[in-house]
Amino acid sequence: MYSFIRYLATTSRTAIHQLALAAGLISASAFLSNAHAADVLKIGYIYPSPAGDVGWAHELDRGRQAIEEAFGDKVESMVVENIPEGPDAARIMNQFAAQGAKMIMLGSFGYMNDGLKLAKRYPDIKIIHASGYKLADNMGNFQTRNYESAYIAGIAAGFVTNSNTVGMVAAYPIPEVVGIINAFTLGAQEVNPEITMKVVWLNSWFDPSKAQESARSLIAQQSDVIFSIYQDTPSVVTVAEEEGVYVVNTSSDMKKYAPNHLLASMQISWADHFIEQTQKVLDGTFKGTAFWGGMADGAVSVESLSTDLSAEQMQTINEKVEAISAGTFHPFTGPVVDQDGKVMIKDGDVLPDGDLLGINWLVKGVETRLPK
C-alpha cells in the first residue's frame, strides 16, 4: 500500500523523473555490460525514487543489501533507481530479462501490470512486487502492517505529552494512512484517554517546505508531539528538533536528524522476507504469495525509542510489543468508536484484514475530519 503512495508521488513528479531517468539509464547500462558466470542468480531491482539516506527506496535497498550479505557470491544485483511507472519501467524489466535476471524486485505499486505481463512472458523469472494485489505463480507481493508499529509509537506519545495534543502531518487520506492514524490514536488513548489528535493534510505527495510549515503550525497550536507520516525527507523531524518537541516518523529511523527529540521511529524492514524469497528462488520452490508482514515477521518494528521514557513506561511498551508479536493482541480490538461516536468495532471483536485495507473512518479523539 505504501508504494501506492509512491506511485502517486511519482506520477506527480513525472517530469523530474523522466529526466532523472537519463541518470538511471547510465547506471543501468554500466551494470548490464557486466556478464558473469551462469550459476550466479542475477537479481534486478527497480526503485521508484532515489535510494537516499532515509525513506522508501532506502528501505528497499537495505533489503537488497541483506540479500547480498546472506548469499554473497551466489547473487548479483542490478539496481535501477528513480524509474517512473509506465513504459520506462517495462523497458527496464525487459532489459533485466534479456540480461539474464532470474529474479526481479519491483519497488512500486504502479509497476504491477507491467510486472504481471513480464511474469507471464517469462515463467522462469520470479518476481516480488511491493504492495500490489495481483498474483501469479511466479509473482508475489509484499507489504507491511504499519498499524502495529503505529500503535506502539502512539503509546509512547501518550506517555510523553504534556499538552495532550499530538499533531500529525500526512499527505492524503488513503486507507493506509487512515489506519496508521487510527492505530496511533488508539495506542495513545490506552495510556492517556484525554489525548486528542490534530491532522494537517498536505494534499501533496511531495512538498518538504509545506510539511515543515505544517509541523510549525501544529506546534503553534500546542502540539508537543508531532507524527510525521510518510514524509520521505527529514523535513518534519528537523523542525521538531529545532522547536524542541517530540517527533515520531515512519519508514526509516531518523534518529540522527533529531538526536534529542526523536520519540520513536516506525521502521520497516524487508530483509527477512527478501532473504526468504531469494532462498526459495535458489531452491526452485518459489511460489507467488501475498505477504503482509507485521511485527511477528520482523517486517515492522519501533526503533530509537526516546530515553526520556521511564523504565515503567518502557515496560508497558515492551509488553505490548510482545503481545502484538505473539498475536495475542490486535491494535484494532473493540470497542472502537468513530468520530461521531458510532461503534465501528464491537467489544472484543477484531477488525478483519479486509476492512483494515479499506478503512475510511477516523476514531474518536482525532479532531480533524476526513476530507470527503
Binding site: 509545506k210 502540539s223 525527507t233
Partner: protein, 307 residues
C-alpha cells in the same frame, strides 16, 4: 493566540522570500521582452547547487553565490536559444526548465535527503525579544531583508534609472531601441542572466534557510507561482511582492485552519492560496489601462535585427 500570529506573520516573510527573489528576476526578464518559463528548473538548480556548495564549503555566502552563478549559466542556455537562435520562447523556456530539474537531480545526487543547519537568523538583542514584532520583523534570516531590498531596488531601477528605461525600451519596441543605438541582444541576454541568478538565489533560500535540506522536487511548483505572480502583479514590483506575501500568508493560515479541525474540505483549503492570490491581484490590477501600460509590448516575440 500570540504564538499563532507570530507563526503566520513570521512564516509569511520567510515563505515569500524565495518567490520574491525569483519574481524580481523574472520581472526584469519580462520587462526586456522575453518570457522565461524555466523558473522552476532554475530555482531547482540553484537550490541544489546552493545546498551542495554550502555543505561542502561550510559557508552560506558561497552557497548563494554559486547558486546564482549556476542558474545564470543555465539561463545562458535559454538566452542562446531565444535571443541567439530566435527560438520560440515558450517552448525554449519549458525545455530549459525541464533541463534544470534534471540538472538539479544530478547535482544533488549524493546529498538526497540530507539536511544542513539553516543560515542564522539575525539577533538584535532586545529588539528581537520584543513580543510579536521582535520575532516577525527583527529576527528573520538576512536574506529576507535582502529580498525586501531587492523589491525596492528593482522598482527604482525600472522606474527611475536610465538602465531601467533602456530595458523597458527593449521590451516595448526592440526595433526602436535598436535604431537609437541600444544593443537589444546584449540587454536581453543580461536581463535573462540576471533573472537566472535571482531564481537561483530564490532556490538557494529554500534549501539553505526555509527548508534546510535537499530532496529532489523540493521546489514543488513555486517556479510556476512566480511566473503567475509577475503577470497578475501587472509587471509592477510592489504588487508582485504583495502577491507573494499574500500567497505565503494564506498557505500558512490554511495549515492552521486544518489543524483547528474546522469542517472545511482540506482540498479546498489547499487551493485557497492560489484562489485568493489570483482574485486579489486581479482585483487590484483590474484597470485595463494599467495592464496595457505595464505589459511589455514585445513580450514573447523573438527579435531579429534589421541590418
Amino acid at each position: 493566540m500570540l504564538d499563532l500570529l507570530v507563526f503566520v506573520l513570521a512564516g509569511t516573510l520567510a515563505a515569500a522570500t524565495p518567490l520574491i527573489f525569483a519574481a524580481m528576476g523574472e520581472l526584469v526578464v519580462e520587462k526586456s521582452g522575453v518570457l522565461n518559463l524555466s523558473i522552476e528548473g532554475m530555482m531547482a538548480t540553484g537550490a541544489a547547487t546552493g545546498f551542495v556548495m554550502a555543505k561542502v564549503s561550510g559557508s552560506a555566502i558561497v552557497g548563494f553565490a554559486s547558486a546564482a552563478l549556476a542558474s545564470a549559466l543555465l539561463s545562458l542556455v535559454f538566452a542562446l536559444l531565444t535571443v541567439g537562435f530566435l527560438a520560440n520562447q515558450v517552448a525554449a523556456g519549458l525545455a530549459v526548465g525541464i533541463l534544470g530539474l534534471g540538472v538539479s537531480v544530478l547535482i544533488g545526487k549524493n546529498y538526497e535527503g540530507t539536511t544542513i543547519s539553516p543560515i542564522e537568523k539575525i539577533d538584535l538583542g532586545a529588539l528581537s525579544e520584543l513580543p510579536l514584532l521582535g520575532k516577525v520583523i527583527f529576527a528573520q534570516d538576512p536574506m529576507v531583508y535582502v529580498s525586501i531590498a531587492s523589491v525596492i531596488a528593482i522598482t527604482y531601477l525600472l522606474k527611475r534609472t536610465k538602465l531601467g528605461l533602456i530595458i523597458r525600451a527593449v521590451g516595448e519596441s526592440p526595433d526602436a531601441a535598436n535604431s537609437i543605438g541600444y544593443p537589444v541582444v546584449l540587454v536581453r541576454t543580461c536581463a535573462i542572466m540576471f533573472g537566472g541568478a535571482m531564481a537561483g538565489i530564490g532556490g538557494a533560500h529554500l534549501t539553505l534557510s526555509y527548508t534546510p535540506l535537499w530532496a529532489e522536487g523540493l521546489v514543488a511548483g513555486r517556479g510556476w507561482i512566480v511566473v503567475a505572480l509577475v503577470v497578475f502583479g501587472t509587471w509592477q514590483a510592489p504588487r508582485i511582492a504583495i502577491g507573494a506575501y499574500l500567497f505565503g500568508a494564506v498557505s500558512l493560515i490554511e495549515l492552521f485552519v486544518q489543524g483547528q479541525g474546522f469542517a472545511i474540505p482540506s482540498q479546498l483549503m489547499s487551493a485557497m492560496p492560489y484562489i485568493i492570490t489570483i482574485v486579489v491581484l486581479a482585483i487590484i490590477s483590474r484597470n485595463p489601462r494599467v495592464v496595457r501600460l505595464n505589459h511589455p509590448a514585445s513580450l514573447g516575440i523573438p527579435y531579429l535585427r534589421n541590418e
